[in-house]
Assembly symmetry: C2
Homo-oligomer: 519 residues x 2
């Protein structure tokens, strides 16, 4: 494959930059063979696209090496694309927005620097995965939980930096960040919050420090390279109560979302709940062709057949209560009173007590089984997400379901959705599953996402996260006062990163050197 | 009083700026008489100091007027000092850091723009006080609470922007911000988070938006003028259980802080608790001279006499449980088990049910009675705060108590402290009460605060908030990597505010035009 270079940098100068990088990390950690580059491609990307292709990767093992690389990147005007572990394949994996970027792979920086059992926090490097944390905690009998997301091979830091979600009361990971160490785009090292004091005894205790607080500046953005992060841990509860609920009617979404939102608002339920369609399970357990060989979206009668076969509902959600046993028993009665009249049957709550096998606890157990869904359409599968934020209202959710399902059908793709109920919002995560080598299908997938973005924009719903391919498009939708927030982003980007070396294009933020004249 | 002008601006040019401002807001809202200026002085400031003196004030009534004023300030190179209501007297009231700044008084922008009873949020302008919200909610029977701080005449927005604290589970007000409208230092209008989409239906639902999130950039800082804010409201609970605890022995702080911190970590107690010394009440109920006429800090035996007279403990704290009655009854048993063995007597919990008089609810009821403490020393009283952040540990709190009390005594001032227990930290708020016209006493107050800052720095404790007078000193304490976080602050300040017109010196952040050569 021909080497991709970024705008304004020819192959000769790019290779000179890579040689300079090798002087920092050693030859073996500059990864620039074709095979190396393949590793960092967008695994679910449309195979015919000539986009998001890195020039190489470089893998430092210390903050000093990161600083040295960032300084060289400025000298050589070479864009770096920092990744922690690069495992969120639905949003682009380890691939950069800009062709020819050099992936700054932080996977070798994988130390768990501190686990504080008294105060309930940990400090980790970007390469630490959920698997690592889980194993470490289990092995050392550490009585804390880090909420584990659906696919657990990803980075703990990377997940928090992309506002990923887990399913315990600590599952909004970005809200549990307490203090970062960051290499700024010109190589300067800062520590945020109380960590800005040398010898600080408050860095992981209080997230704000004195003056403005910057942790969220480094989230979903390109203002620095995060090399350490403090995260608050959830004390292992005495007990949990869990119930899985299947709902047979599609319209059940209305009462169920209203009930869940109210329980969440009143803090009876303390965690974000995934309210998902049957295909979440069916696409793990089977492939589409087992049920249907036709073109176009899978017909409703086939969906019903699948649902019946596996004994599922059209919708499924899981209720979890965490805490002291007598407290959650009291909450159980409140939840039953809120859900059972509409459900028409008793909830089947299961009790887990500290010491029982962790699988039944609701903490989440690392796995990658859900990745199986990409095989649904056959071929080399992929999926891509469309994730607008909505108010937590049953009628609006029902309308979103009907509207989006119709759009999927218009483009011949199978509707796959979930409505994650947060404290005051819903993350409506819709996945499009495709065969990435089927050009007609991926073309439809792209057009579908574009149509969904446009539909959402008309209703005032913005996306909270995006695949590389749609970052510009989504940023453009943030159009209040002619896009003044993105002008602010650009002003700050240019002040911190005059050479535009850190992740150009991330979240639609382009440095001056790459900015299109229209911006 | 002679007109103060800021560096680089003579009286003639300042007056020209004020005339231009009058063209925006009308003559009557440019407040530049001696009496007007007095209104904005630091009410508790040391009377002999020639610092923090505004040139005038200007009071817009709309965001368009704020934008126009900010643009004129750039044109005329005139520093503005935005205040919401300017009522936090212990940190400087409405006075600016920099002499000759023009106070931008947002008190006329006092609309409650929205109260959403379905989703539990409000949107307010800066002039809305806690009194206003409380009255509005009571009058309209709105079943939500905004946690009310000790002195309630201040601004709701101002409190959240200074990281002020209330005492319900929503009392960390800065963490309940969801979306802002901000005039940037050159007059551009932005909306943060989901509000950056025109017609957004998610602005107050989800705090982050897409890409980096900026709400905390505008907190304790000088990067813009906040003209609207969304805040999440706490649903009125079904019931609360409250118990007041008095502890007679000073060393009780050790076990009590440990117990409270553990209950807070495990989320049994969901609100920040003030653990305060006897003087909180004694200084409201009496004046020092009633007990002691000598010089120097009040002796321990006199303290004991006061404590005995009023039937207080050396320490006092209040336990509050909020929620469904059966849930908080279950929590009550857990709290009793954690506290009563060391306390040596049963806790006296009082039940409040929805519909009972609000005073017993733990919601907080607006008042200004605690302001009474400034009369403790006689004369024209004042107080100033020293507020380091510490880990929530009983032994460390005991050591802080002993260390700081000794420092107060060294400077002849009466020790007044509280340890507010948060989720992973303590805000150790220490007040120094003085007669502001007693030059010896205020000199000692200043030296005491400086000594306390230095002591804390040695231990790695940074302050979370500060009076105007100590902002530079405290910022200097954030010295990791030679103060790299403040260099970041300055870089961003210069990018957004090249003329340095918004609140120069706030939180130790100076724009280039004012920066001292040493910085």
């Amino acid at each position: 494959m021909k080497l991709k270079t970024p705008p304004g940098l020819d192959e000769k100068r790019l290779l000179a930059a890579l040689r300079a990088f090798a002087g920092v990390v050693g030859e073996e950690w500059v990864l620039s063979s074709d095979q190396d580059r393949d590793t960092y491609l967008d695994a679910y990307g449309f195979s015919h696209l000539d986009a998001h292709i890195p020039a190489a990767a470089v893998a430092p093992r210390s903050v000093e090496e990161v600083q040295a690389l960032v300084r060289l990147a400025n000298e050589h005007k070479t864009p770096l694309w920092p990744i922690s572990r690069g495992k969120n394949l639905g949003y682009g994996g380890g691939a950069p927005v800009q062709n020819g970027s050099v992936v700054l792979d932080l996977g070798r920086m994988n130390r768990i620097l501190e686990v504080n059992e008294k105060y309930g926090y940990c400090v980790v490097e970007p390469g630490v995965g959920f698997f690592d944390i889980f194993d470490h905690f289990q092995k050392n009998r550490i009585p804390y939980w880090l909420s584990i997301p659906a696919n657990a091979w990803g980075s703990v830091i990377g997940n928090a930096l992309d506002r990923g979600i887990g399913y315990t009361p600590y599952g909004d990971h970005t809200t549990r960040i307490c203090g970062m160490e960051v290499v700024l785009p010109q190589g300067e090292l800062v520590r945020t919050g109380m960590g800005a004091m040398s010898g600080s005894q408050g860095w992981q205790h209080y997230p704000f420090g004195f003056g403005p607080a910057w942790d969220q500046m480094f989230v979903q953005s390109n203002f620095g390279v995060v090399t350490q992060m403090g995260l608050w841990l959830m004390p292992e509860p005495e007990a949990t109560l869990s119930a899985t609920v299947q709902l047979s009617r599609r319209d059940d979404i209305r009462w169920a979302i209203d009930a869940l939102a109210k329980l969440r608002l009143h803090n009876v339920l303390e965690n974000n709940m995934v309210f998902g369609s049957y295909l979440h399970e069916a696409a793990v357990l089977s492939q589409r062709e087992e049920w249907y060989q036709g073109k176009g979206a899978i017909p409703d009668e086939v969906s019903e057949r699948i649902i019946e076969h596996y004994g599922l509902g059209w919708w499924k959600f899981r209720l979890n209560l965490f805490g002291h046993e007598e407290v959650i028993r009291a909450k159980e009665r409140i939840v039953r009173a809120a859900i059972e009249p509409d459900l028409g049957q008793p909830l089947d709550f299961r009790l887990w007590r500290r010491g029982d096998p962790i699988e039944g606890s609701g903490a989440g157990v690392p796995g990658t089984l859900p990745l199986q869904i990409v095989n649904w359409r056959g071929g080399r599968g992929g999926h891509i997400g469309f994730s607008p934020v909505m108010p937590p209202d049953g009628q609006l959710a029902l309308e979103a379901f009907r509207r989006n399902k119709a759009r999927y059908e218009e483009f011949g793709l199978d509707y796959y959705t979930s409505f994650t109920v947060g404290p005051r919002h819903i993350n409506n995560v819709n996945l499009v599953i495709y065969d990435r080598d089927d050009r007609e299908m991926t073309g439809n997938a792209r057009r579908l996402i574009e149509a969904l973005i446009a539909d959402a924009h008309k209703l005032g719903y913005g996306e909270y996260r995006s695949h590389l391919m749609f970052m510009d498009r989504i940023a453009q939708g943030y159009d209040f006062n002619d896009g003044s927030l993105w002008r602010l982003n650009e002003t700050l980007k240019d002040a911190l990163d005059p050479n535009g070396v850190i992740a150009p294009g991330k979240s639609g933020i382009w440095p001056a050197v790459y900015r299109k004249p229209s911006a």
